[in-house]
């Protein structure tokens, strides 16, 4: 019989990190949009076989602009999201609502799957579709 090695899942380790370090949790939740945008841009690059420089050209920017966004550590501003959507055809949804209320502007299944912050009394939903 094969003895399976002991492992920990990413979800478990991340949850432990958040429980151990509230400042980490705060920062992680705060930058959910940054990570979402980073994933969308890398996914777009992979689908279109683009380098960061080639993607930057499509966005009318230089390579460091894409590198900053793909880092996923700083939330992009509204104009940046508009630029990405216009140039790449990616749709973004950001819904901010009191946590006690059921969101009315996004489907409940989207809210349930993408909610990132409920602890401070506010539910923040960030989602994207390529």
């Amino acid at each position: 019989m094969t003895v399976q090695p002991k492992t920990v899942s990413h979800e478990t380790l991340l949850a432990e990190e958040m429980a151990r370090d509230p400042a980490f949790r705060e920062e992680w939740e705060r930058t959910a949009l940054a990570r979402l945008v980073a994933v969308q841009l890398i996914k777009y690059r992979a689908a279109n076989k683009l380098s960061q420089r080639a993607l930057a050209e499509r966005l009318g920017k230089k390579q460091p602009y894409v590198a900053r966004l793909e880092a996923g550590d700083t939330n992009p501003d509204f104009e940046t999201l508009v630029n990405i959507s216009r140039a790449l055809g990616i749709e973004f949804v950001i819904d901010i609502a009191p946590a006690a209320k059921t969101p009315r502007l996004v489907p409940q299944e989207v809210a349930a799957e993408h909610a990132t912050k409920r602890r401070s009394g506010v539910s923040v939903v960030v989602a994207a579709a390529g």
Binding site: P5, L13, E17, V39, A46, D73
Partner: protein, 114 residues
């Protein structure tokens, strides 16, 4: 959000991670591993690199390589196993991590039989 890929950490790698103290570095590491979880083989350079001369092993590069930290992992179908970490900006530390990854990798051969 449900991720299409599974990321597991070898228990020895989890122990090694305890020596990584800075919150910013830990955040950058979890960020790049989160990207792997979402994108799998769609995660592109400079976030990831194949390890030269080490077939099947990948180097994850937090902050697109500007962090000194590296995670070394192996892919088996839709599962990625983080085998070890290199924490210091030091070739000896990285080489030691690669050796550890090479040694630990066969622990997961059973996943190929699923």
């Amino acid at each position: 959000m449900d991720a299409p890929f599974i990321v597991l950490y070898d228990a020895d790698a989890v122990r090694e991670l305890e020596s990584l103290k800075g919150r910013q570095e830990r955040t950058a590491l979890f960020t790049v591993i989160g990207k792997l979880r979402m994108l799998g083989p769609g995660l592109l350079p400079p976030h990831v690199k194949s390890l030269k001369g080490e077939p099947g092993l990948l180097e994850l590069r937090p902050r697109q390589g500007s962090s000194a930290v590296r995670a070394i992992c192996r892919r088996i179908a839709n599962v990625y196993v983080i085998l070890t970490f290199s924490i210091k900006a030091d070739k000896a530390d990285f080489d030691g991590a690669v050796a550890a990854a090479r040694e630990r990798s066969p622990r997961y051969d059973w996943l190929t039989l699923r």
